[in-house]
Amino acid sequence: MSGTLDKLKLSLSRTKDSILGRITRVVKRRRIDDDLLEEIEQILIEADVGVKATTRLIDRIRETAKERNLSEGADVVTLLKDEIATILIKEDGQLFSDEDIKPVVWIITGVNGVGKTTTIGKLATQFAGEGKKVIIGACDTFRAAAIDQIAIWAERSGVDIIRSQEGADPAAVAFDAASAAKAREADILLLDTAGRLHTKSNLMEELKKVRRVVQKAAPEATIYSKLIIDGNTGQNALAQTSVFMEAIGCDGLIITKLDGTAKGGVVIAVAEELGVQVDFIGLGEGIDDLQRFDSREFAEALFT
């Protein structure tokens, strides 16, 4: 566990170094003017915050600076910190609610190759470690060896898996998994779904069906859909989130692969434009490389 924390610190400090460090260097002994704001704009865009979100951020900084009569370049950091924190901090950033009825079902979704299956392995390990009874449903019956892959993760995390054959109806697996989770009185059911591009409406329909079928098998169960976003993703993350949201809802994001050099600015853009909370961040391929996303901590860590 402490390994994970170290990793997070390292990763955050890298993010911090890249965004804040650069901004701090840029603003040193300068006054707030158009040139300076343009340099800050560059830094934000290069972090994948996106043109629109960046423009809004910069505009607000410009305004606030004027209102409060701030002219020191260094003030920009404080203002940016406030702005980004406001965007990222969600009041009820909770994973579970007291009203949840077991088995709580997490449908894990996302476009191809973002890290869904790996993340389920990590989640199962964490939840099982907290003493919860976890079951995994292998609903990706499409991709080659997807079932074998999730089965290995189930074994590594020591939890039960409900699986079928390649080519089987994913909804049928979902039904079986939900029935089993109910019968075995599981706390959490994690459903691994096939990667799908949000533009393919037949596949999005398939996903809706998975949700409907879970509801049928376990009518009382509380269902959450979690969307996985690859931290390397650029502006397409916005389209992904909004389309998945519309199809089966989105109760939280998990941003993976933030152990690379991508800055994760996508978090800011998506949170601002779509108001979705971020639950976890993925920091590697190992079973412990998943960290709870704490917006306050994240915003703080970025700016202290």
Binding site: N112, G115, A145, L197, T199, S201, Q235, K257, G260, T261
Partner: protein, 444 residues
């Protein structure tokens, strides 16, 4: 989410026309829109900045100031520059002329390497050459099995050695291929971060051992600004020879293509267009340029239509789709053709910005049967002029087709929405484009 550059430029130039002459400032204004479009398409900030500078010099220096239609001129210059930057023309993979020729595939986690290995193998098989796919990913759970399943599905030989290092596996595979008259060896390596020194060293070692004829970097077309760092580092350590862009079947604008091409100078050779082994196409710089600028990929659409449906009919369909003349009779006639093209969304999805509009319309394959039945129960007159269909006609059609009146209503509503949408595309997006850019001029 998409902002159409051509629309935006039209606005800019409308303003200019009102003010008379085109000035350097006007060019700057329009190029600001271009820059924004590039950034929204995920072109790296610095790459976009340099690009705009280059275009500005070109634009100010020559044609534009005297030109009659500055909007078209600027779009053309930008488009042409992008095409040049993307490599101009389609570049082929290294020839398969040794026994064995070796292709090595590398890239970040989840970018699409294993799938690409199978795709290239299938392509090679179709050229009547023998390939061997090599599983050198010993880390990811079930990675070996994944490649095996894919290889079996296309009946291509698969190679792996349990308990050996990736270096050993690759080295042995080449030896095996030499002895077994294999034309092409395709090495599938594990996904890795460009900053993971140990894993990058592994690739360097494999490269030194197998001396690949083609070293491909697979890049996800949805990648953001960081594409430059990834590509730069892979290239610095491995001197890659080509790039494959994956997941182009989505709606990402794919600006990373520009960034990667710019920082590596390597040609983009392949376009991965789906999850199945057959979903691979050569990379076309001109189409990519249009896509990045938000101008659509009508050329691909037309080509796809040509492959699967009668050419004359495809042309007619295209023209009718984008004019207001598309009626229910055409709809019925083309329904069979459309079905052959594959899921309608994926066809229409090639036109950027449309897939979202289409969502309100939702044409499902299953629905198509029902729709066909309804249309078949209409008179020819009704099919040509749906507006004459009143309440009693609806009842008759419903009865005749075994559907409810609601279903008939729904079809009419959907059809009219679709007609409107295609009409809009036909009018808005392609009006005012210079001839060379007008996608349809290619088929006329």
């Amino acid at each position: 989410m998409f902002s159409n550059l051509t629309d935006k430029l039209e606005l800019v130039f409308k303003k200019i026309r009102g003010h008379g002459k085109l000035s350097e400032k006007n060019i700057k204004d329009s190029l600001r829109e271009v820059r924004q479009a590039l950034l929204e398409a995920d072109v790296n900030y610095k790459v976009a900045r340099d690009f705009i500078k280059a275009v500005e010099q070109k634009a100010v220096g020559t044609q534009v100031l005297q030109s009659i239609d500055p909007g078209q001129q600027i779009v053309k210059i930008v488009h042409d520059e992008l095409v040049t930057l993307l490599g101009g023309s389609t570049e082929a993979l290294a020839p398969i002329d040794k026994t064995p020729t070796v292709y090595m595939i590398c890239g970040l986690q989840g970018s699409g390497k294993t799938t690409l290995a199978a795709k290239i193998a299938l392509l090679t098989k179709r050229k009547n050459k023998k390939s061997l796919v090599v599983a050198a990913d010993i880390y990811r759970p079930a990675a070996v099995k994944q490649l095996k399943v894919l290889a079996d599905s296309i009946q291509v030989e698969h190679f792996h050695l349990e308990g050996k290092t990736p270096q050993e596996i690759c080295h042995e595979a080449i030896r095996y291929a030499g002895k077994n008259f294999i034309d092409l060896v395709i090495l599938d390596t594990a996904g890795r971060l460009h900053i993971n020194d140990q894993m990058m060293t592994e690739l360097e070692e494999i490269k030194a051992l197998v001396k690949p004829d083609e070293l491909l970097l697979v890049a996800d077309s949805m990648t953001g600004q960081d594409a430059v760092n990834v590509a730069e580092e892979f290239h610095r350590r491995l001197s890659i020879t080509g790039i494959a862009l994956s997941k182009l079947d989505g709606d990402a604008r794919g600006g990373a293509a520009i960034s990667i091409r710019k920082v590596t100078g390597c040609p983009i050779k392949l376009a991965s267009m789906g999850e199945k082994p057959g979903d691979l196409e050569p990379f076309h710089p001109d189409r990519m340029a249009s896509r990045i600028l938000g101008m659509g990929d009508i050329v691909s659409l037309v080509e796809k239509a040509q492959e699967t449906v009668d050419l004359d009919k495809a042309q007619k369909m295209q023209e009718k789709l984008l004019s207001a003349q598309f009626d229910l009779e055409d709809f019925l006639e083309q329904m069979g053709q459309l079905k052959k093209l594959g899921p309608l969304e994926s066809i229409v999805g090639m036109i950027p910005g449309i897939s979202r509009q289409l969502k309100g319309i939702q044409i499902d394959e299953r629905d198509m049967e029902r729709m066909a039945a309804i249309i078949k129960s209409m008179t020819i007159e009704e099919r040509h002029h749906p507006h004459i269909i009143d309440g009693s006609r609806k009842k008759r059609i419903a009865l005749g087709s075994g559907n409810s009146v609601q279903a008939v209503n729904q079809l009419l509503k959907q059809f009219s929405a679709m007609q409107k949408m295609f009409d809009n595309i036909g009018k808005k997006k392609f009006k005012g484009l210079p001839k060379g850019l007008m996608p349809f001029s290619m088929i006329r």
